[in-house]
């Protein structure tokens, strides 16, 4: 899956939190890559390590207690984990920008939108204040803030949630980043506004030719905007492939569970079959597959060792013994029957 034309390549990333109650393995062996101009989705339940993956890329892990204990983050071929804080500051906001989940709390309440935009531009670009202001106005127009000329002087609380998220996006776009990381950018918004913001992402990507990492717990969002997708479970990738392949031929039991929990509007009665059970405690993961306690197909071997991410087809990797050729189909079949009796 890795190739030389990648814009971002995350290899074997491990980010742990060293807390009083134990080591939280929030991200525990994540690999993925993003090509220029494409959109990669990272999808998973709450607590699966999506945000920590994003923050690790940007070098924003709160430390202590967090620490990236292993791995590489190659951006345009350079390992970001080896950069000095100063070098990282010149990359953040310029080369890699980020949009956060909650637009209500992500903007500074006591600074005007103008201030928060202009300071970003002036930090990274050699422009005069006046030019930066003009650029800020242009960006607000671009992201669809009506009456930007006047609105730019307002404070965040004077905007609605959707408008604030547009402002956040405008700030993120202000220095033409080649990568935009959006961490659940629509979760906090009303459904109609969600659709508008997703449209905006698609439009911006086309116009500005940047890559996007779209973090979400919503496969609907993935279907809408992502080219490829990584399904995460308990800090590890469960399945990694193209969006179409995932929906047509998703293989990992967790992926299938997620798909079943999408409400199908075509059916008469909406049936929401959420995955039963809770995500594991990241401080004390089971020895075997971390999904085993919730998995309908769990076998003996699933409790004994952790499966590896293996290619099942070209550009389609799954981390599950059911799809691991090293295991005989027969055994899997038998175990499957036993497993389903259990559930």
């Amino acid at each position: 899956m890795q190739n030389d034309s990648s814009l971002l390549e995350v290899r074997n990333l491990h980010t742990h939190f060293f807390t009083k109650s134990g080591v939280v393995k929030a991200v525990d062996g994540v690999d993925f890559s993003v090509k220029p101009g494409e959109t990669l989705g990272i999808v998973g339940e709450s607590g699966s390590g999506k945000s920590i993956t994003a923050l690790s890329i940007l070098g924003l892990i709160p430390s202590p207690p967090g620490r990236i204990v292993d791995g590489e983050v190659l951006f345009k071929g350079d390992n970001l984990l080896k950069k000095s804080p100063k070098e990282m500051r010149s990359i953040r906001g310029k080369e890699i920008a980020m949009v956060f989940q909650d637009p209500m709390t992500s903007l500074n309440p006591v600074l005007t939108v103008e201030k928060q935009m202009v300071e970003t531009i002036l930090t990274h670009e050699k422009l005069t204040r006046k030019q930066a202001f003009a650029r800020a106005l242009e960006l607000l127009d671009l992201v669809g803030i009506p009456d930007a000329k006047n609105r730019i002087h307002n404070y965040p609380h004077e905007f609605s949630g959707g408008m604030r998220q547009r402002v956040m996006i405008a700030i993120a776009l202000s220095c033409n980043p080649s990568l935009l990381i959006a961490d659940e950018p629509t979760t906090a918004l009303d459904v109609t506004i969600q659709a508008q913001i997703l449209e905006l992402f698609k439009k911006m990507q086309k116009e500005l030719d940047m890559a996007i990492v779209m973090i979400t717990h919503d496969l609907g969002v993935v279907a809408e905007v992502c080219d490829r997708v990584m399904v995460m479970y308990a800090g590890k990738p469960a399945e990694y492939t193209e969006t179409t392949k995932l929906f047509d031929n998703g293989k990992h039991p967790y992926t299938l569970g997620l798909m079943h929990s999408i409400p199908k509007i075509t059916e008469k009665r909406q049936k929401l079959e959420a995955i039963t059970g809770m995500p594991p405690d990241l401080r004390s993961l089971p020895i075997g597959c971390s999904f085993a306690p919730r998995c309908k197909y769990a076998m003996e071997s699933c409790l004994e060792s952790d499966p590896l991410l293996k290619n099942v087809a070209d550009g389609h990797a799954v981390r599950c013994f059911l799809h691991d050729d090293a295991f005989s189909k027969e055994e899997s079949f038998n175990e499957t029957i036993i497993g389903s009796e259990k559930s």
Partner: protein, 334 residues
């Protein structure tokens, strides 16, 4: 905004009526004959009667109160029994002395307190954090009296580098305009007096400013720690802003809000509560003025001064609220 200010100023009226009633009752709440408590045991009946006449103590309370308020409304704060001076005139000198000292003390407290609080928060658990916050804890409970005497002993007696008392070295010439000596000496280009007045301010300023400084430092630290956890600080970081900008623009401007309340409150308290410091350093301000008036049972002075201080206290509060508006755009004044 103007509407809000006028509304707040109107709300001053009931507050001041309340204060005026309390200060007025002061004389009458004290058991026994107020005239006798002012003049003491040895006063003759004739002397007592003449004082009663002078103060109108024989009139019904309501008439007395009406007169008290009427006089004040005309700008007449009455006359000191001890010095026979007009209280208004005396306050014109004492008030600026106290204000100058208070402003100086607060300037020290705010700049050092905020700076220490910010550094302690940014470098949480560092040696600076530990030392400054232990110092602040100590500072809050420091007896001013002891601190003042120690400073006088060390800087005035041992080292002889700072004057132990007063606002100016006797014999220093100064042309007073506002009775703020630092300001007056600057306005008249009198740098000798400026230096002298400044040296006189240092020790009482430190004595008065220590407790507010400690409170402000602790408040700033905890407020900064809270703000640094907020999402918008992470956003600022994700934008690649310089640390200095994140701390002072993004964090401090938010963290300052609760600190501002403390500053306003402490400022008001210092204005009225500098009694101890003014007494130790023989500072001719209103704290010492009231203290001496209480000792001398000079009730008109006590009454009027408390009323003036209360008014200033309320005005400082209003000013604090207005500053809030500047720092927190989310607050609307209607």
């Amino acid at each position: 905004m103007l509407k809000y200010i006028s509304k707040r100023l109107l709300m001053l009226i009931p507050v001041l009526i309340g204060v005026s009633i309390i200060t007025f009752s002061l004389i009458h709440l004290i058991p026994g004959d107020p005239a006798r408590s002012m003049l003491g045991e040895k006063a003759t009946e004739a002397q007592l009667e003449s004082l009663r006449q002078e103060l109108g103590l024989n009139d019904p309370y309501i008439v007395q109160y009406g007169r008290f308020v009427g006089d004040i409304l005309q700008g007449d704060l009455g006359q000191s029994i001890q010095s026979k001076e007009s209280i208004g005139y005396e306050l014109l000198h004492k008030l600026p002395a106290t204000m100058e000292l208070t402003l100086f003390a607060m300037l020290l407290a705010v700049t050092i307190g905020i700076l220490a609080g910010v550094i302690a928060a940014v470098k949480q658990y560092s040696w600076f954090d530990n030392i400054s916050m232990t110092g602040a804890l100590f500072g809050v409970s420091l007896p001013i009296f002891w601190l003042g005497l120690m400073m006088i002993w060390f800087f005035s007696v041992k080292l002889n580098i700072l004057p132990p008392s007063g606002r100016l070295t006797p014999g220093t010439e100064i042309n007073t305009i506002t009775n703020f000596y630092l300001l007056d000496s600057l306005l008249t280009g009198n740098f000798r007096a400026f230096k002298d007045a400044f040296l006189h301010l240092i020790m009482p300023g430190i004595a008065l400013g220590t407790i507010p400084m400690a409170i402000i430092a602790r408040m700033t630290r905890s407020s900064m720690l809270e703000v640094m956890k907020q999402d918008y600080i992470r956003t600022a970081d994700a934008k690649g802003l310089k640390t200095r900008l994140i701390i002072f623009r993004h964090a401090l401007k938010n963290a300052f809000l609760p600190v501002l309340t403390v500053i306003g409150l402490q400022f008001g308290l210092l204005l009225g509560g500098a009694v101890l410091t003014e007494t130790i350093f023989s500072w001719p301000g209103i704290g010492r003025y009231v203290y001496l008036a209480v000792l001398g049972r000079d009730y008109p002075v006590v009454q009027s001064t408390i009323l003036v201080v209360a008014t200033i206290f309320v005005l400082v509060n209003l000013l604090t609220d207005l500053l809030y508006k500047y720092f927190d755009p989310r607050i609307r004044y209607e």
